[in-house]
Symmetry: C2
């Protein structure tokens, strides 16, 4: 906590806002910072203040707040494979590397004008950002944030498409969707100096987000411009996109949609996937062998995140306005709601502890993060954090597609 | 490496061999040890010398060797949820807590006369050992190794059964099998002062090892005394054991078995499980919806460990003597062998990096650990370690049943 003021000052220097800056020698251990493991660390985005809160999921406490991260609306985070560093993708195009142990920014680069998230390679060597402006992806050396590859998403007449749905795949490959070009691209960055991109065109109109299944096999993009989804079996020798779930979408008489669901929130539990219906108060159940819809579960509002507890026994759902004070829990053995919780105003995100014994929930307008026991539903702790949104734990480093 | 000699000396003091000993204040950071993340750490058991080698899976290097751990034949390891501490279960009944950051033993207790492994609760608070002598399980405070619960596996006439197949379940519960009592027990240690044990008797003759599926739902014990396996659906309100795979076993004309397969090595990939046939040169393929056998894959010897790469695309197999210089790789999309490797003499164990880009393989008689790229099968590094056996990475802390 001592370092907070120092970081505030550093965060406003032009150096940090204009380029790659190493503000801390990352090796030595300051005398006042004890050695500690990183497996139970996490971060909470406090977007109103451009702050990253560092939390401890064993003690359920706030350890520190790192300021000076810029515009963190819609920010997302990936972690180095040692769990020490968080890479924060800001909406303003900044990519910031934060050392969770020294609690400092160690590098920061303005890499785009408008960015919407990123990914990290399995070997931890490459951090990749997906950008709206200019449209495309950029790959950075994870140690230094030096730019190592720039792949503009160029289509007709040299225009650049906005990029969404970026995920990491085995072998330093990345899949992503081109919103304006109706395409899915897979870029192999085995040799960052010579990227090799496979383009799948005409996958459907306006892919707006995507996910990869936990095994890295199926890449699925939601379509904004039509009903249905585009799916690619990445294990096929020549991957191709095919259309699934033609009934998934806003339908012929579109309902008002208050917030687009997040596809990365999709839950795969056992052989079923649970996904947010768009505009409807329903969670759809899909068989992942046939990719056919096999059920619908009525819920308390328009679902935003639909997330499986790591063991798949439960699926937790939050909602868009006006129902975003509620969270519902589905038991996947009975496909029914077993609990409705009201953890606070404006629930924006949820994150499970690695083995799922607890879930952390951010209630933005109550400036609170609640830690809830997923078996008893008792509140185990609450943390005061200014306008919390995304919650990300270091255990993501060990998982594909996170 | 500086500390190696020091630890050798400590390892021979009676204090360490006779009881719980805290030999290092675990908080301060010694000046020569830099801060570092723990997500990419692991240990290799060097059983001939009672040594634990600490390795870095990002740099693919040996960081340190900690001596004085006693008899490490058949040793197994679990990790604290922060990834900082390894709990080592020695065959001689010792439970040793090793700090991977300071590279020291921080606590050690002789907890039984003959022990065969252990588990840790999801919340990281309890470490549990399964014992042959005296038969039963014991639970320890993970911070101090203080004994907090002792559950003797008492059956007819007060005899104590040897315990095998211990796994952690959600909610500080543990499942295990009683070799001599033909039973499976599930003990709830929510309140360690008042353990509640559910006993399932008559599950089949002589359960010799067991596993829990990655979602924590199915507990499966192999039977030494008859063909077939015992399976418990832990999600049922009143769990009960039923018999599956009546053809699994040595058969009516038993073949010689050179080494019993390890059931924890079982691979579940997608909806199929891959398991070592006993005494036969085959891997069995089982449908996890029906628990029926759906195929057999011929392999190069009697399989010991059959392990899925984290994404389930590949299954790696090692073998008992005389074929234990080989490792084979099965592609699960085609159910066929795609590669046979010879990484060294006496391959005893394999461990995948968290996202599966590499596998580490121990070749005991070549005193070598090989790191192999799972896509290209190229050897990325080799490490010299004295008689290496089990390899365990800290990412296990985030997984159920490991």
């Amino acid at each position: 906590m001592k370092r907070r003021h120092c970081l505030s000052l550093l965060g406003t220097t032009p150096l940090l806002l204009s380029g790659c800056a190493s503000v801390a020698g990352a090796s030595g251990a300051p005398a006042d910072l004890p050695l500690r493991g990183t497996g139970d660390l996490g971060v909470v985005v406090a977007r109103a203040t451009g702050t990253l809160a560092i939390v401890d999921t064993s003690q359920r406490t706030l350890l520190a707040q790192v300021t000076g991260l810029g515009d963190l609306s819609h920010a997302s985070v990936v972690f180095s494979r040692d769990g020490r560093y968080a890479y924060v993708f800001g909406r303003d195009g900044a990519l910031t590397k934060v050392d969770l142990l020294t609690r400092r920014i160690t590098a920061r680069v303005m890499q785009a004008g408008n960015s919407i998230g990123g990914a990290i390679s399995a070997d931890g060597s490459l951090v990749v950002a997906q950008n709206y402006t200019p449209g495309g992806i950029k790959a950075f050396n994870a140690a230094t944030l030096e730019l190592v590859a720039d792949i503009p998403a160029a289509y007709e007449n040299g225009q650049l498409s906005r990029v969404v749905g970026l995920v990491d795949l085995p072998g330093r490959r990345f899949a992503y969707s081109l919103f304006d070009a109706n395409a899915i691209w897979i870029t192999d960055l085995s040799d960052p100096a010579r990227p090799v991109t496979t383009q799948l065109p005409n996958i459907g109109r306006q892919p707006y987000d995507a996910l990869v299944t936990p095994n890295g096999r199926h890449y699925i993009a939601g379509l904004f411009g039509e009903d249905g989804l585009a799916m690619v079996d990445l294990w096929e020798e020549k991957p191709r996109a095919r259309r699934i779930l033609a009934g998934y979408g806003r339908g012929q008489e579109p309902l008002p949609v208050y917030k687009m669901p997040h596809l990365r929130g999709w839950a795969v539990a056992g052989r079923r996937a649970y996904l947010p219906a768009i505009g409807r108060h329903e969670v759809l159940v899909v068989d992942t062998d046939t990719w056919q819809e096999v059920g619908r579960i009525p819920v308390a509002g328009q679902p935003v995140f639909v997330m499986a507890r790591p063991d798949g026994r439960q699926v937790w759902v939050n909602f868009s306005v006006p129902d975003y004070h509620r969270v519902q829990v589905i038991d996947t053995t009975t496909q029914s709601i077993v609990r409705t919780l009201e953890p606070g105003k404006a629930v924006l995100h949820m994150e499970f502890t690695p083995r799922g014994e607890s879930v952390w929930i951010s209630s933005r307008d109550d400036h609170r993060v609640s830690v809830i026991d997923t078996q008893s539903f008792a509140t185990q702790a609450t943390l005061s954090i200014d306008s919390p949104s995304g919650i990300f734990f270091t255990s993501r480093a060990a998982r594909l597609g996170f």
